[in-house]
């Protein structure tokens, strides 16, 4: 072991001297590995970023809320199976709340109806397109993480009476009133006038894709009155303990089946969605990205490895006489093998370090350019890419190093 460390140290010195002696060649060769490591690191950072961003966005939606909808969220490719289902009606919310009250130790807390549409919102000359108009009750504050930075949410009375009041998201307030307070101003939604009574605090974006702040919340009766009473509704149900999610889903399914009077042999004609389902869909996407990414980065590393192997073969050929001399002076096969393995590994490691530096700078630049997209450069990635570099070095160096170690000293000494 001690002997091995000794040889290792000596081999490192030789490798360092070789790299310094052939600077240009070493750099050009390492370029393949540099590109490979940049690709690996950026890919890893992207996957990390998507994951973190998703968790953040999910926290906004709330991970303790079940959504009763007409169709499942995660099944896009067989929508026709759900098309003819009965619509979810906002009245279910009250009935579910009664059922919850009647159940001792219920896993559910409260049900809140919601309806939504995309409409443009106007204030004076300013117009904001594609705003998410959400109709709900005052109980909505109990199940969401929304809170008002200014003003207040509508109360029970306004909620039931369908008062023409609204709470606007940060983006809407910002775009419609350009920095001035939105409170007590009027906005026009689809031509109907609503008074702003509150502004929501900023939520950020969902995965950097769309804003969660482009929203206007109005009382449900007003929504039904001015927009479509027939548009699709959801009922959101908050669970008491999110560690008993499955029990909560079972209980809610039971309540819904009773509401719909489904006989036992009939299948559910509604869907209970939770964000966990979203998460598993995203996990599948993440896996696909990771596999595709791994393939691409693997390919660039492979090309890099071939470059290293090639240059190590050249190096062995060039230094045949040196190898002969070293053998004559008593270098064993293992020593020669180690020397060339370390040379290729050192080359890859230096390439890896340079690649990491580049990748770090690129992440830094990207984070500065697109602040909304979540980017994370993790320590684990640094370790992983170092290991990948070393493995690339060993794999690409083994064949040339082996051939060097097997050289016959007589032939090698005679080589010119």
């Amino acid at each position: 072991m001690k002997r091995f460390l000794y040889e290792l140290t000596e081999s490192w010195k030789i490798a360092a001297a070789q790299m310094v002696a052939n600077k240009t060649r070493s750099m050009l060769t390492a370029l393949g590995v540099i590109i490979g490591i940049v690709a690996v690191t950026l890919m890893g950072t992207a996957i990390n970023g998507i994951s973190t961003g998703f968790d953040k966005s999910m926290a906004v939606i709330g991970d303790d809320v079940l959504y009763i909808s007409q169709r499942p969220w995660t099944r896009m490719n067989d929508w026709w199976n759900y098309r003819d289902r009965k619509k979810i009606r906002t009245e279910y919310a009250d009935k579910i709340n009664h059922a919850i009250a009647a159940t001792p130790n219920s896993n559910l807390m409260i049900a809140v109806p919601t309806m939504s549409l995309l409409r443009s919102v106007k204030a004076g000359d300013n117009s904001v397109d594609g705003v998410f108009i959400l109709g709900t009750t005052t109980d909505y504050t109990l199940i969401s993480t929304l809170d008002c930075s200014e003003g207040r949410f509508f109360n029970e009375l306004e909620s039931r009476g369908g008062a023409e009041v609204c709470v606007v998201g940060y983006d809407v307030a910002d775009a419609a009133f350009a920095g001035r307070s939105a409170l007590d101003k009027k906005v026009l939604i689809n031509g109907h006038s609503f008074k702003v009574i509150g502004t929501l605090s900023r939520q950020g974006t969902f995965l950097g894709l769309f804003s969660l702040d482009s929203i206007v919340v109005i009382p449900l009766p007003a929504f039904k009155k001015y927009f479509s009473a027939k548009s699709e509704a959801d009922v959101r149900v908050k669970v008491r303990d999110k560690t008993h999610m499955a029990d909560a889903v079972d209980e809610l399914t039971g309540i819904m089946r009773r509401l719909r009077s489904l006989p036992p042999e009939k299948k559910d004609d509604f869907s209970i969605n939770e964000q966990q389902a979203f998460k598993s869909t995203l996990d599948a996407v993440k896996t696909t990205i990771a596999i595709a990414g791994l393939f691409i980065t693997g390919l660039s590393l492979f090309v890099g490895a071939i470059g290293i192997m090639n240059i190590t073969f050249v190096s062995v050929k060039e230094r045949t006489k040196e190898i002969g001399t070293r053998k004559a002076l008593g270098a064993r096969r293992r020593t020669i093998l180690l020397q060339f393995l370390i040379e290729s590994t050192a080359l890859c490691l230096v390439g890896g370090l340079i690649g990491l530096t580049f990748a770090y700078l690129m992440c830094f630049g990207m984070a500065a350019a697109f602040p909304s997209f979540p980017i994370r450069f993790s320590f684990g990635l640094v370790i992983a890419s170092m290991i990948v570099s070393v493995l690339t070095g060993l794999v690409s160096g083994i064949a040339p190093a082996w051939s060097a170690s097997r050289l016959d000293p007589v032939t090698a000494l005679r080589y010119e």
């Binding site: 002997r3 006489k321 040196e322 070293r326 008593g330 096969r333 007589v410």
Partner: protein, 253 residues
Amino acid sequence: MSLVTHHSSLPLVIDIENITKEYVMGEEIIHALRGVTLQIRRNEYLAVMGPSGSGKSTLMNMLGCLDTPSSGRYEFNGKNVSEMDGDELATIRNREIGFVFQTFNLLPRSTSLRNVELPLIYAGIDPEEREERATQALTDVGLGDRLTHKPNELSGGQRQRVAIARALVNHPSIILADEPTGNLDSKTGEEIMALFESLYQQGNTVIVVTHEADIARHARRSVHLRDGVVESDELAPLPPPAAMAVAVESLGK
């Protein structure tokens, strides 16, 4: 052919009995050695001579444990070399044999010190002791002030001295020089031969492989090869006066 019994009181270093070596070259089998018997004792100064194709180089490879014979027996300090594998041979070369090459074979980008340290690295000597011994060896060949010079900063004669220091640094049983003056002018060549003479005088065993009679003249015993066999093996009648004079001078330094 006369078998020489020289310094018969000193122990045998090399004991070769009837070795042969065949190479396959294309479809042809080359018989490079056809049965060579040779004994070399400690503190001999031997020249191996012969025209090209005589088997001289092959015998040198055998003596230097760079290669093993096809048949016959070779004992080095009582150890049977003919049956050793590559790594065992490497150990013998490292511990017992100091090589001096015609083309010096120094590592071009390493300093004299680093070049001389090389055999010690392969022997696993600690860095401090390594440097000390390499410095001593370089000083012994008159290059104590050239420790940090690289080969391209040295003259041919100095390069060969570095190589000789490298050969000596591990205190080998034999010094094996292959045409050591082949790449040097005659004056520098004489200086190198004087160095060998003084090494011999200090008790080393020196074997010089050469085709030049002038160089072989420095040795005390010369073995002539022809067509893969020993043609003659004789003691020099007297040490050549010129060589002695140089030797005495260099010893006096």
